[in-house]
């Protein structure tokens, strides 16, 4: 028996696969690669897998983590290659290795946002956004689990923010809190819409690019 972790990419078409469907997709990929997963006991046994931090639908990522347990004893060698022959387009396993660090040590994530302006970036946008994200408090509106609207200050959840302009778009490179509580980087765009409506981008692409522990070291 082995406890293993996958590091995988989720992009292009696969970015539209929901969290639950991603779980289902992986549940089917393992037997295709002739790996026997440990199943839950009880009335409806199902393979035990968990995705460390669900990615919102529509976002891409270079650094998704998935934990699972195999019946066989293995250090994960060769598993990534095997799994990659059975995955849908846009999902690709980068590494497979034994779990050494608990999930709770995963603290920050880096995300790249492409803010697209169809008619060109308005003059002074980058500076205005820098000022916006440097504020002491930055409120957004979010639906809670109980479906109520709540006002949340996201300023304390933003750790780093670099903005650069590049033909027709602004690139935002942000490091934000990942959990307890975490910040969905898409809310950074909502903050722009709320506070600076005239600078609202026409479309935003979001991609997770790295994940870190509390000290800012890469988390695996």
């Amino acid at each position: 028996m082995a406890k293993l972790r996958l590091l995988f990419t989720k992009e292009a078409q696969a970015s539209y696969i929901s969290h639950l469907d991603t779980m289902r997709t992986f549940q089917r990929v393992f037997p295709r690669a002739e790996l026997h997963l440990k199943h839950s006991n009880g009335f409806h046994p199902h393979p035990i897998i968990s995705i460390v931090l669900p990615l919102p639908v529509g976002q891409s990522s270079d650094c998704e983590l998935l934990d699972f347990e195999t019946v066989e004893e293995t250090d994960g060698a060769g598993i990534a290659e095997k799994l990659n022959t059975g995955l849908p387009a846009g999902l690709r396993v980068r590494e497979c290795y034994p779990v050494t660090r608990p999930v709770r040590e995963f603290t920050f994530l880096r995300a790249r946002l492409e803010l697209l302006y169809d008619n060109g970036v308005p003059a002074g946008t980058a500076d205005a956004l820098r000022a916006l994200f440097a504020r002491e408090t930055l409120m957004i509106e979010k639906r809670t689990k109980h479906k109520e609207l709540a006002q949340i200050d996201i300023a304390p959840l933003i750790r780093e923010m670099t903005l650069t302009e590049q033909d027709g778009s602004i690139l935002a490179d942000a490091v934000v809190a990942a959990q307890n509580p975490g910040l969905n980087p898409a809310y950074l765009a909502q903050a722009i819409e709320r506070e600076l409506p005239s600078l609202k981008p026409d479309f935003v692409r979001v991609r997770r690019t790295e994940i870190y522990d509390t000290e800012g070291n890469v988390f695996r």
């Binding site: 539209y16 295709r32 387009a89």
Partner: protein
């Protein structure tokens, strides 16, 4: 990905169904492709991807050199709205290319209520709706599937209908189309040649005249088209291609499991059942081959459930053997076997033990009628004692829920038959008291009734559907008499069943009605949220046609049916004999007891596998 699509997707429900890229989706190099087929299913991705026929034909077409077959499904309402607003034409999932540029647009249609969705998809694609407006060889619009046994209500919109099983016919048609393009034929030349292929029906080559009373007077084939088009079948199921390696969707679909098709046809001969007639004769796959296919399909898909599919799976002779031969393989992989339907008269202990281990939640039986007299009249050869014995076995074996399906409005039905349904439910309840292994869990008995829809090519094709008021009276009668505790009664909404009865036996004049209803907003009529009876009634009024003429009229024996140019292989004499036997409440034995001479075995050239 198309930029317009990228902007739309974050705003629609379940975007994964609009992007393709699934495991085993077929990608091809366009420089090696000379024939592009858009394989359209006029319903959502979740329904279409659950269709085994679609998977078989997708595989067969893509196995042809130079042919790239891609999938297209009907967008849900939110997606359709966004696509229209963005000016994004209907595209194929594999390449993302607009299907109006494809060589062939092929629909798979299993249900009449999907007809308006076909029009909607053509419109979304930017393809002219009427066959007569499409003067070029491409795109050719063809359709297949069970609904083609009466495709008259869409005769104006399609160039060609494939009647029966498409495995061979589809290949022949694509080859012919390829030749026509290479040699520069006109569309008319091509259609005339296609009409000579077995199973191919070209509606435009038939002239239909009507009597003053609205019935069909004559059907005249032109340009050498055959008087009768007889359906195609696969004669040898052991040679019929099975999609062991097939697309595994990345989002949940309705039938989210591996499907193993055991046999085609049905031995039973229920007089109301269109599938029971049009899928004849019975043809089995060999058990040994099925075991191989099952293992291959499970290994490739990674699914943990496999359904053993056919019209009446428990009639498969080596069923228990098949389950046993798969047991070890399935146990190692945590794979459960399930059956889509059970007959209440041969549901055995042996079978129960092999199915859905640990998941003893519910069983479904379809007695269809409440009294023995009516069950005999519709030839549902099932006795109440069989049903109760099966229920007792199920309850003793740990099942605690039973669903019972019935129809209201069957020919010859009386109030006594309606009340008989409540009695059956109370007897099932009694059976639970007698035999439940664990009474503490309680029992759930669900009775569901639907409104009988007479269908073309069945023994009841001459029968009227009972009027809506009468159907509602019978529902009310049953509701008031369903007194047993623990019995839940559900009845089917009547509006869709009425329109289904109109269209399923409709003629060519309904093309205008369907187009009008579509223009009024009937885009996805198979879904209650997108169906409006008022819109349909308005469409009938505008076209000067009476829907009751189609749904509620009794046809005479010698009436020329609008679908008379199509043969399922079962003779009209046989259907009429079955129709008469209904009124005598005389049963016809199943095809296993002895051959009743329906005529379908002639398609096979040997006795069928009943």
């Amino acid at each position: 990905m198309d930029k317009r699509l990228e902007r739309i997707l974050p705003r629609v429900q379940k975007p994964a169904r609009y992007v393709g890229g699934e495991y085993n989706a077929v990608m091809k190099d366009l420089s090696q492709v000379d024939t592009r087929v858009a394989f359209c299913f006029p319903d959502t991705y979740e329904i279409g991807m659950s269709n085994l026929g679609m998977r078989i034909l997708y595989g067969i077409m893509n196995n042809m050199e130079g042919v790239w077959c891609e999938r297209v499904f009907a967008p849900w309402g939110d997606m359709e709205e966004e696509m229209r607003r963005a000016g994004l034409p209907l595209y194929a999932l594999e390449s993302g290319d607009p299907i109006r540029d494809f060589d062939i647009i092929a629909f798979s249609v299993g249900y009449e209520m999907a007809f308006p969705a076909m029009l909607n998809m053509l419109d979304l694609a930017g393809v002219p709706l009427h066959a007569s407006e499409r003067t070029e060889l491409t795109p050719l619009v063809i359709a297949g599937g069970t609904a083609m046994f009466n495709c008259e209500p869409i005769a104006d919109f399609i160039d060609i209908a494939e009647i029966g099983e498409g495995e061979e016919m589809n290949v022949e048609l694509i080859e012919l189309h390829r030749r026509a393009r290479r040699e520069g034929w006109t569309k008319q030349q091509f259609l005339r040649a296609a009409a000579q292929l077995d199973g191919i029906y070209v509606p435009g080559l038939y002239e239909v005249d009507y009597n003053a009373d609205g019935t069909v007077k004559s059907i005249t084939p032109k340009d050498g088209a055959p008087k009768v088009v007889t359906k195609r079948i696969m004669r040898d199921m052991d040679k019929a291609w099975y999609p062991a390696k097939t697309i595994v969707p990345s989002t949940e679909i309705v039938q989210d499991r591996t499907t193993l098709e055991l046999f085609r046809g049905c031995i039973r001969g229920c007089r109301f059942c269109q599938a029971g007639y049009v899928y004849r004769p019975v043809r089995n796959r060999s058990e040994k081959l099925l075991v191989e296919y099952a293992k291959e399909a499970i290994e490739d898909s990674g699914y943990e459930e496999m359904t053993l599919s056919s019209l009446s799976t428990s009639d498969f002779r080596p069923l228990v053997q098949l389950c046993d031969d798969l047991e070890e393989f399935c146990a190692q992989r945590h794979v459960n076997l399930s059956l889509p339907s059970l007959r209440a008269d041969n549901f055995s202990m042996a079978l129960m033990e092999r199915l859905q281990k640990g998941r003893k939640t519910g069983l479904t039986f379809a007695p269809e009628a409440g009294t023995q007299r009516l069950r005999d009249a519709i030839n549902k050869n099932l006795t109440e004692e069989d049903l109760l014995a099966s229920c007792r076995r199920a309850f003793a074996g740990g099942y605690s829920a039973v669903k019972l399906y019935f129809m209201l409005g069957l020919p010859t039905e009386t109030d006594e038959d309606v009340l008989g349904i409540a009695e059956v439910a109370s007897h099932v309840m009694h059976a639970w008291r007698e035999s439940a292994s664990n009474k503490n869990r309680g029992v759930r008995i669900t009775v569901s009734t639907s409104w009988f829809v007479p269908k073309a090519h069945t023994a009841f094709q001459w029968e009227p559907q009972i009027p809506k008021e009468e159907y509602e009276r019978r529902v009310k009668l049953l509701r008031e008499n369903m007194l047993t505790k623990s019995v839940t009664y559900n009845w089917h909404d009547s509006d869709t069943s009425y329109m289904e009865a109109v269209i399923s036996r409709g003629d060519r004049r309904l093309c205008r009605v369907i187009e009008t209803a579509w223009r009024k907003g009937e885009h996805l009529s198979a879904w209650e949220e997108y169906f409006s009876l008022d819109r349909w009634l308005e469409a009938f009024e505008e076209c000067g046609l009476d829907p009751h003429f189609y749904a509620n009229r009794k046809r005479e024996k010698d009436e020329l049916m609008p679908w008379a140019m199509i043969s399922s292989g079962v003779t009209e004499q046989y259907l009429w004999r079955e129709h008469e036997r209904c009124y005598q409440s005389v049963t016809t034995p199943d095809c296993r007891t002895h051959c009743n001479g329906c005529g379908a075995n002639l398609l096979l050239g040997r006795p069928c596998d009943g």
